[in-house]
């Protein structure tokens, strides 16, 4: 099992921390990857391109050295720099090459601390990635010996959330941690003026809760007995409120599915998932739509380190 960590000089630590946390258990290794711009294959007469290539090499080496120092010997990790014409392209190529089970990304720098803000690269990855994408909130620093303690799956009972559910089950088995199903009940805003009273949306929310409980029971019934699982419903005025009403552990990730509107087998955030990503206090793992999820073949591709 190999996890890919996308590294940049500025935002690397959040993603690295997430990778380290995930790779502590479950027989996982990390591939830490710096994507550098592609240069020409043939040297020009003035050798300016060679100078540029040397600069890029130096940059990649420095960044990798920093990452190496940050990770220490805590986890098994490989370091690589990939030349590519875009970061997304490089990351996807490396992920395919190393048979990565997920790609860990950091947040954009302008967002609030403790939440994930979608930046340029994350935006692209969230539309085209064939492998699950793990998003580290800005300033994500679990203690250096933190490990995955629990996997929470954002579950709605829809077909899309089915692949998220399968992925969450696999992740929790892989790392031997408990699984939690969480359905978010967001009480919609009331229409004013109302001719049907001011409790109409509460009625809808309560019905949704009942439906969600039913769907959770159905999903849980398909699980083998050896999976430790709990199920819960989080209610709130909005998504942030609902997510905050749940207790979170230090080493926890939240798994969400992709929209049914996106292409098959690619990550594509739906309107609810994007709200969850923005308001989640823990790292979010976005699973491609209808994915025959990669996490399940635990073939250790980069074992030989």
């Amino acid at each position: 099992m190999n996890y890919l960590v996308a590294l940049t000089a500025l935002g690397g630590r959040d993603a690295l921390s997430l990778g380290r946390m995930l790779a502590r258990t479950g027989d996982a290794t990390l591939t830490v990857c710096v994507v550098v711009p592609q240069t020409w294959d043939y040297p020009s007469l003035a050798r300016v391109d060679a100078e540029y290539a040397a600069f890029l090499n130096q940059y990649a080496e420095d960044t990798i050295a920093e990452a190496r120092e940050f990770l220490g010997n805590a986890v098994r990790a490989e370091y690589t720099s990939t030349p590519a014409s875009s970061a997304t392209e490089g990351l996807i190529a490396t992920a395919t090459e190393t048979d990565a089970a997920l790609v860990a990304l950091g947040s954009a720098r302008h967002g609030p601390l403790g939440r994930f803000t979608v930046g340029g690269i994350a935006n692209e990855m969230l539309h085209v990635s064939p492998v699950p994408v793990a998003l580290a909130p800005r300033g994500y620093r679990p203690s250096s010996d933190a490990r995955l303690r629990r996997v929470t799956c954002a579950f709605s009972g829809s077909t899309q959330s089915r692949s998220a559910f399968d992925a969450a089950v696999q992740l929790s088995r892989q790392h031997d941690v408990p699984l939690r199903l969480a359905t978010l009940v967001v009480r919609d805003r009331q229409m004013y003026p109302s001719q049907v009273g001011y409790d109409a949306e509460r009625l809808v929310a309560e019905q949704w809760r009942a439906q969600a409980e039913e769907a959770q029971e159905k999903a849980l019934a398909t699980l083998p007995d050896d999976v430790a699982v709990e199920a819960g419903i989080a209610e709130g005025r909005d998504w942030e409120d609902a997510l905050e009403s749940l207790p979170w552990e230090e080493g926890e990730v939240l798994v969400v599915g992709s929209s049914r509107l996106g292409p098959v087998a690619r990550v594509f955030l739906g309107s609810n998932s994007i709200k969850i990503v923005r308001s989640s206090p823990v790292p979010v793992l976005v699973i491609p739509r209808g994915a025959d999820v990669h996490l399940k073949d635990a073939a250790p591709a980069a074992r030989g380190l």
């Binding site: 709605s156 009972g157 829809s158 899309q160 959330s161 967001v186 919609d188 805003r189 009331q190 229409m191 004013y192 003026p193 109302s194 001719q195 049907v196 009273g197 001011y198 409790d199 109409a200 509460r202 009625l203 809808v204 309560e206 019905q207 949704w208 439906q211 969600a212 769907a215 005025r237 049914r260 739906g270 609810n272």
Partner: protein, 482 residues
């Protein structure tokens, strides 16, 4: 105690109040919405929910029926609506959650009455949104005409009975509103306030311009059809007062409901009636009563005739197009939520209360409502829709007024947050006024209404009576002696 928890067998079974409370679980800890509405805001809700539904289209129907005496028809309809709204407020305050008159009737007068009221509410909300979207189509056409000099062909602007093939803009409006609702769109309190201002501003503009062409001669045969004409016109007009009951449903959320509710109802009625009467006086002053008949997008046409220019009708039409859109959205929303509540009670199939996990909205319910209302709006003439709406609303209101009296006798000790002032005169008057206006409706409306109730009865006895959760003893699990 065991006899009740195994399910009640009578069609007059009542839904226990506890069940309502469990279903909606009002937050007590945060209380973010509780008791937050004051007198001013509530009055504005009432005005906002009422004005704009019908005043833009009703003069065309009502003035030919009563002549200039239509002013008294407005006042008569307004008094009736206010009296009923006060009765409604008492019924609403006897159960501690807010809802529609369907819920209140279910808790107090039994299932079959509630089902009948729901059938009437379908006319009040569903059919009235169809009527209003027909009016929207007229004003949209008028707006295009004054802005671009372009008129839509009659074939796609009127129902088959009125020389057209179908009313396309009305269908488009209903479809748009339903699409918004399936995506979870909402009109906020702020948006509503803006809409109220637009509506009132546009109507004031009409009144001011129309008064420049005022001629007392137009009032000359003041009541050409006498008292009968006033009554007939009041029955058509009544549907412009729908929405005043929105005030009564606020119940739990209002500061000091005992004082605020009746005051808000009275203030809202006064404001609404004043605006309507001003519009009627200005309109009649500007043109002879005989010219109202068949005048589509009436208010805009009057402005065009007075000013001879396009800007005034364009502004008025634009205001009407915007505000009628918002009214349609709110009414359709109300309709879907009533059917939703009925679905939850087991009175309608499950399809009405399934929630789509992606949009978290009862999507199928909304689509069914959209198809039903869209078909009505596209293919049924406006006059028929207006009369049916008035019929349904008046019957529902009468049930509410009589219900208040029944409950005072049968359950005098039930806690009531608000009691009708002037009991028993108020509910008696309210019922009497409503029945009088009902009696003025044309025979064809009675026939249609009878068919409608017949269909409702068939649905009730073949499906609802058997599937009702009360009948199956499900909803009473948490019941405790009151």
């Amino acid at each position: 105690m065991s006899t009740r928890s195994t399910g009640q067998q009578s069609v007059f079974r009542r839904k226990p109040v506890d069940a309502f409370v469990t279903e909606t679980r009002p937050d007590t800890e945060g209380g973010e919405l509780s008791r937050s509405i004051g007198l001013f805001q509530l009055t504005m809700f009432g005005v906002g929910a009422t004005i704009g539904t019908g005043i833009f289209i009703v003069l065309t129907e009502a003035v030919p029926e009563a002549g200039p005496a239509v002013i008294f028809s407005f006042i008569l309809a307004g008094i009736t609506a206010a009296l009923t709204a006060v009765c409604y407020a008492e019924l609403a305050s006897t159960i501690p959650v807010s809802g529609s008159s369907y819920s209140y009737t279910y808790a107090t007068m039994g299932e079959i009455v509630a089902f009948g009221v729901a059938a009437c509410l379908l006319l009040e909300y569903g059919v009235s949104s169809a009527a209003v979207s027909v009016g929207w189509a007229q004003y949209l056409d008028e707006l295009f005409s004054s802005l671009f000099g372009f008129r839509m062909p009659e074939a796609m602007l009127a129902a088959p009975g009125e020389g057209g093939f179908l009313n396309l803009p009305a269908i488009v409006l209903v479809t748009l509103c339903c699409l918004l609702l399936t995506r979870g769109a909402r009109e906020s309190a702020t948006a509503n306030a803006v809409m109220v201002i637009i509506k009132i501003a546009v109507l004031i503009l009409f009144v001011i311009i129309a008064f420049t062409a005022f001629s007392g001669d137009n009032f000359a045969p003041f009541a050409p059809f006498g008292a009968a004409g006033i009554g007939v016109a009041a029955s058509s007009i009544f549907f412009t007062f729908i929405g005043l009951d929105a005030v009564s449903t606020a119940g739990e959320e209002v500061h000091n409901p005992r004082r605020t509710l009746p005051l808000a109802i009275i203030f809202a009625t006064i404001i609404v009636t004043t605006v309507y009467v001003l519009v009627a006086v200005a309109g009649i002053g500007a043109q002879p009563a005989g010219r109202f008949e068949g005048q589509e997008a009436g208010l805009a046409v009057i402005l065009r005739n007075i000013t001879g220019s396009n800007w005034a009708p364009a502004v008025l039409s634009a205001g009407a197009v915007i505000s009628i859109f918002s009214v349609t959205l709110v009414t359709l929303y109300g309709q879907t939520r009533i059917l939703f509540a009925m679905g939850r009670d087991g009175m309608l199939p499950e399809i009405f209360h399934r929630i789509n996990p992606t949009t978290l909205v009862p999507v199928r319910n909304t689509i069914i409502v959209g198809l039903f209302v869209g078909a009505l709006a596209g293919f049924v003439p406006l006059g028929v829709l207006i009369d049916l709406t008035s019929m349904g609303t008046l019957v529902a209101f009468t049930v509410v007024s009589i219900g208040v009296m029944i409950l005072r006798r049968t359950q005098p000790d039930l806690p009531r947050g608000f009691r009708v002032p002037g009991y028993p005169v108020t509910p008696v008057l309210s019922a009497a006024f409503a029945l009088y206006i009902i009696s003025q409706l044309p025979f064809s409306t009675f026939a249609l209404f009878a068919v409608w109730l017949g269909v409702a009865a068939i649905i009730y006895f073949t499906y609802s009576a058997r599937h009702s959760r009360l009948a199956r003893g499900e909803a009473v699990a948490s019941e405790e002696p009151r």
